[in-house]
Every structure is written in structure tokens, then in C-alpha cells.
């Protein structure tokens, strides 16, 4: 097993917006008049090309996320991006760090879409479940005061829909659906890998440990994520769960170039855009009422109390507190090994991606250089990602399928006018079969 997995992350930022001094918030209130569809065509397709390229570079997975009403990310419908990436790749896992479950009045739609993606991709889907940022609730017909309740109820409903044969009735506190019966069901058993991003909520950490989900931290300084991973480990120890380090994931924006000076020269302005413009929002947007419990709110206030507001962070502070990691592949490799693999004990880095205002050519150069000189430092001999060491879930060809699975479990028998019995789908067009059936000679083939 490789010591650290590398995931490419795609937010599809839209950096063609007013600079900070003319822009109070890139979320909720920044008018979509700044979105130019013709330019958007390029932005989307460039970003999705980066996502798909992760496979050929040899990354461990490629991820998209979900945000609404913001220039920060153009993926309100991340399952659509995922489908595009699935269609342009063969083997690499594709992760959706959506779907923002509480925002939707029919969680079965999520169960259906993820199952569709999972089947079509041949079992390559990582299903994130997210509460969404506080900002999303300003543009949704859902009170943040019910976000957590809806999140876990939707989660329970989706898991039941994936694991129990339908139809069944769901009679919950927030959702009532008389016939839950999603077609299709996912191909991964018992269900796709589940990742939940967290900003330290104790409840999220506990549930991830209890249910064996992957826990992922985002956009926080290292000292803070250390607390989150420590509480994960403490709780795991308390309830007797052995920690699988591969389930601990960290998102930290990472960029490598040929020399240290060159890396900073290339990354600085674009990574600063993330904090001083892209993430810019009034602080109270982040935690609308009820989004956290009172206790959670007080704890977060205490934890963040000593922090400068993100838009005011300087590039030096971003580097120092490890909001970002920039350097040569060797320098970044050392930091990742010593601080993240050894010290924090994580197994997955969501590091490289379409960060900030960076142009596509620069992103691709960084991805290639990291693939050549950084990823191999953490790989077993041969340099393969772990997913290529496992047998695929689906046959690679028709012949393989026929040899492995034989005929369908349930035969397809067709009723045709003028014929008393049914005729098998495979021979429904064969005259001799039709004639015999008309004379009442053919009976249905035996079912499995």
C-alpha cells in the first residue's frame, strides 16, 4: 500500500470578478451578471480537462465539489461534472465532495444519481456527503436551523435506499416518501465509499469513526486540523475502532515548480486570490443561525478567536500556518512526509488542483511535475496508485462479461401479438422461433 494518496481537486473557480476592494463578498450577493457564458465555456472545459487528466498523470483520484451562488465554484450540480469526468476516464476513482444533502427536498434523487454514476463508471464513485457551507443556506429554501437534522436523516434514507431492496416507505421527521425504490442501485457493495468533510464538528467526527467513513478537513491551518485528527483518534480509541489512516484526508492547496523561487513566483498571486477574493464573505455568512449548535458555535468561536480573518492573511501567513504548501517536489515531499504522514497520520492529500486564478497551463505543469517527482516518493515499487492493484468491479469486455457472469439473472421474455407464449429477447427476431411460438411449440426458457 502506498503511504500517501494524492487527489486532484476541482472547484471550478471563476476569477473574472471585481477585486476585493470593490467586492464585499464573492458568495451569496456577488451578482451573476459577472458570469460570462462564453468565457464560462472555456472555464468549465479547461477545469474538467484538468480533472480527467489526473488519470494519465497517475493520481489516486479526482474530485469535484458543490457550491451555490458564488464565483468561488461553478459546480452547483457536481454530479454533472462527475459524469463528464467518468466519460473521459477509464479507471480512476471520481469523488463528489457534494452532495449537500440538507439543501434538497428529495434525498432519493442523490441516491439515484450516485447509483447511476457508480454503475456507469463501473464502481469508481466516491460519494461525499456534505452539509454545505453556511453560505449555501442563504440561497436555499431550507433553514440552516434544520441543516444537521436533515443531513443525517437524508444520509440514513440514502444508505437504506442503497442497501435494502425497495420499495419501502420512508416516514421521517423531515422527509416522507411513500415508495422509496431507486432504479438503479450502486455497483459497489455495500455502497460507494463515503467521505465527509468537517471543520471540527464533534458530531461529524464521531459519526465518521462509528460508521467507518473517510473524514476530510478543509481550508484550516495545520494546528487546527491537528486538533480535528486528534479528536478522531481519541474517539476511535475510546470506542475501540482501529484507525485506518487512509480514511483520514486533508485538503491543503499544494503547488510545485522547478525551483523554490519559481514555485512562489508562479503560485503567489493565484493562491492569494483564494483567500483574499474567492473565499471572501462576511464572517457571519459562514455560520447562519442553527447551522451549528450553540455549543458548537461557542467552541468554534473560541478556537478561531485567535485567528485573523481569512481575507487578511498574508502570503507568508498562508505558508507559515500551512493553509498552502509551495516549493520544489522534494521540499513539498519532505513536508508531507514529516508533518502529514508521520505527525498527523493522514493517508490522503487533496493537494493539487484547479486552485484559485491559476491558468490551466500552470496547473497542468504543476500536476505533471508532481506526478514525476512527488508522487513516486510515496509509492510502492512500480509507482501504481492503489486502485490499480485491485481487480476492477466490472468486466472489461463483452466476452469477459459473458465468461464471468453468463446470462442475465432474470430473462427478458417478450409478449408479441398473435403468440400465446413469450419469446426470449435474444431470439425475438428469428423467424423460426416466431413460427414455432405461433404454433404453440416454444415455451419460455427456464429462469435462473
Amino acid at each position: 500500500m502506498n503511504s500517501l494518496d494524492f487527489f486532484v481537486f476541482n472547484t471550478i473557480h471563476y476569477p473574472f470578478i471585481p477585486p476585493p476592494e470593490e467586492n464585499r463578498s464573492s458568495w451569496v450577493t456577488l451578482s451573476n451578471k459577472y458570469f460570462d457564458p462564453e468565457l464560462g465555456y472555456t472555464v468549465y472545459n479547461d477545469a474538467l480537462e484538468v480533472s480527467a487528466s489526473a488519470e494519465k498523470f497517475g493520481y489516486d483520484g479526482t474530485l469535484v465539489n458543490e457550491h451555490h451562488a458564488t464565483a468561488w465554484g461553478l459546480q452547483p450540480a457536481p454530479n454533472l461534472s462527475a459524469m463528464h469526468i467518468v466519460a473521459n476516464t477509464k479507471h480512476i476513482p471520481v469523488g463528489i465532495i457534494g452532495n449537500a444533502l440538507p439543501l434538497y427536498n428529495n434525498p432519493v434523487r442523490v441516491a439515484e444519481e450516485i447509483a447511476m454514476l457508480d454503475v456507469i463508471s463501473g464502481g469508481r464513485i466516491i460519494s461525499g456527503f456534505v452539509v454545505g457551507t453556511g453560505m449555501e443556506y442563504f440561497s436555499a429554501p431550507v433553514s440552516p436551523a434544520f441543516a444537521r437534522e436533515r443531513f443525517w436523516e437524508a444520509h440514513d434514507l440514502i444508505l437504506k435506499a442503497w442497501t435494502q431492496e425497495g420499495p419501502f416507505a420512508w416516514e421521517g421527521e423531515h422527509f416522507h416518501i411513500p415508495h422509496v425504490n431507486p432504479w438503479p442501485r450502486p455497483i459497489q457493495k455495500p455502497f460507494p465509499e463515503i467521505w465527509i468533510p468537517g471543520l471540527g464538528s464533534a458530531e461529524t467526527i464521531r459519526k465518521c469513526v462509528e460508521k467507518g467513513y473517510h473524514y476530510m478537513t478543509v481550508f484550516s491551518p495545520k494546528w487546527m486540523v491537528k486538533k480535528f485528527f486528534d479528536s478522531y483518534r481519541e474517539y476511535a480509541e475510546k470506542i475501540g475502532v482501529v484507525v485506518d489512516r487512509k480514511k483520514l484526508k486533508l485538503a491543503v492547496m499544494t503547488y510545485v515548480a522547478e525551483t523554490e523561487a519559481q514555485a512562489h513566483r508562479e503560485a503567489k498571486a493565484h493562491l492569494q486570490w483564494i483567500y483574499n477574493t474567492g473565499l471572501r464573505h462576511p464572517q457571519h455568512y459562514h455560520g447562519p443561525p442553527g447551522y451549528s449548535t450553540k455549543q458548537g458555535f461557542a467552541a468554534m468561536m473560541a478556537l478561531r478567536g485567535s485567528l485573523p480573518e481569512q481575507p487578511n492573511l498574508t502570503y507568508e501567513e498562508l505558508l507559515r500556518d500551512r493553509y498552502i504548501i509551495v516549493g520544489t517536489p522534494q521540499q513539498v515531499g519532505e513536508i508531507l512526509h514529516e508533518e502529514y504522514v508521520e505527525e498527523l497520520g493522514i493517508g490522503g492529500l487533496i493537494g493539487m488542483g484547479t486552485w484559485g486564478s491559476m491558468p490551466k497551463w500552470m496547473i497542468m505543469k504543476g500536476l505533471q511535475l508532481a506526478a514525476e517527482e512527488l508522487l513516486p516518493l510515496f509509492r510502492e515499487k512500480g509507482g501504481k496508485p492503489d486502485y490499480l492493484k485491485k481487480a476492477p468491479l466490472v468486466p472489461g469486455s463483452v466476452a469477459e462479461r459473458a465468461a464471468t457472469f453468463g446470462k442475465p439473472k432474470y430473462p427478458s421474455l417478450l409478449k408479441v401479438d398473435g403468440i400465446a407464449g413469450s419469446i426470449p429477447r435474444e431470439t425475438a427476431h428469428v423467424a423460426e422461433v416466431i413460427d414455432s411460438a405461433r404454433n404453440g411449440k416454444v415455451t419460455a426458457p427456464t429462469t435462473v
Binding site: 451569496v28 443556506y137 431550507v142 457571519h284 443561525p289 458555535f297 468561536m301
Partner: protein, 272 residues
Amino acid sequence: MAIQTIAREAVPKPRNYYTEPSFLDVEGVPTAYRRKGAGKSVVFLHGAGLTRMWLPFYERMSASFDFIAPEHPGFGETPMPPWLRSFDDYVLHYHEFFRKLGLQKINLVGFSLGGWTAAEFASFYPDAVDTLTLIVPAGLRADHPLPDVFQDGPDLPLRLFNDLSKAIDVAPDPTPEEITFGYGEATTFARLAWTPRYNLALERRLHRVTAPALVIRAEDDRLISDEIAVKYRRALPNARDLIVPGTGHAAIHEEPQLVAEAIGRFISENAS
């Protein structure tokens, strides 16, 4: 189902106007209320904040009336029951609260969110209301969308008050305890009214409220549009209105004397 008893929580105490409340158990909810004065009973339903205080407006009202100011479930010192979902829950809560206090025909006054609650109560129990006073009430859909009260954050006082000097003595201290407490009250508010911020059924039901009604508008309300107050006056069969000159939404804080006198006159002339 058995009645669930909700535990009281310790709350931070505002530096001005704090008084200890009395508590009444209302179907498991320990309901805080403050009461002072003599004469006709007047019940005041507060807005979405500025709780735990015996405000100058209350003091003036209590000079002429038996003035009762309960705190809604999830506000002030009344804890939030986990089942709280909607204004219907408040209507039934207050029906029981009034019954326990032995109040029959009520002079009901509601401010802002409390105005919405009072109007809901009156539409369900028109016979229990002797007079109805709605001060800059929420609850109906205006012709133009309201500003987003939740989006204002720390700027909210600028929208509520025209005269910010009147906000100083009631503004919460910026301590972590007060900020967290305020977050809790805002959470209750968000349970009730994040979406939708109006009740279309209420407008249709208001014709049931035949009691004399007074709608108090603020001259320059930049939070709850004056269109809503006008809609109430038109939808209530026996309503009149008046405009408090010069104030923003926080009319009872900016002009406590003037508003108290207007309500006093209205109740004295119209209560049975």
C-alpha cells in the same frame, strides 16, 4: 404521547434593565414572564431579540395596565423545545399560557415577530382577543421582498434603529456568552421564519379577527416593510393605524413614551 419537560438553561444577564422573571410551566416548557402594574391585563409578545429586560416601554405600559411580558420558547429565559417548528406551536403555547394565568379576553400586543405571533393567535382564537395591537408586525408577504435580516449580521442595529443612541443601553455586550446566547435566539428565529418569511394563509384568515385592532407603523422602517403593516390594517375587519414619526423598526425603543401612550388610549377606549 407524554409531555416532555424542557430544562431551563443559564443565560447571560444584560447589563441594563435585567429583572428576574417568574416562570410558569406550560405543557413542559418553563415559560419566563415579567409582570407589573394594575388595571386591565395587557400581554406583550416581543420581537426576535432584546429579551431578558424590563424595558422602558414596559415600565411605561405598566403605569396604566397589568402588563405581562412572556418570553417565547427559544427566546430569553424560556428554553427552546426541540419540537419547535412553526408559529402554530407558539399559538398553542400561548393559548395554554393564557389559560394558566386565567386570562379570558386578552388585550394582546405584539411587536415585529411578536406581532406575527399575535396575529396568528388572533386568527386561530378570535374570541379570546379583546383588542389586538400590532407594532411593525411581520408575517405577511409584502409587494416587494424584504431585506434579509439574517444577512445583516453585525450591521443589523443600523437597520433597526434610526437613533442609534437609543440602541446603546439595550445592545448586548460583545462577550462570547452574549454572542452565543444571541446565536441561540437567532436559531429559534431561523426555525420559525428562515423560509418562508410570511404566511400566506394568515392573510386569508385575518378576516376572522373582528376585535378592535390597532396597527402601529414606523415612519422609516427599513426592516419589515410598511407595506405589511398596511396589509394588516386592510385585512383586519376592525382596524385603524397610526404612524410613529421619525423612528426605524425599533419604534418601541426609540419612542417608548409615544407608543405606550397610543396603545394606552386605544385599549382604554376599546377594551370591553
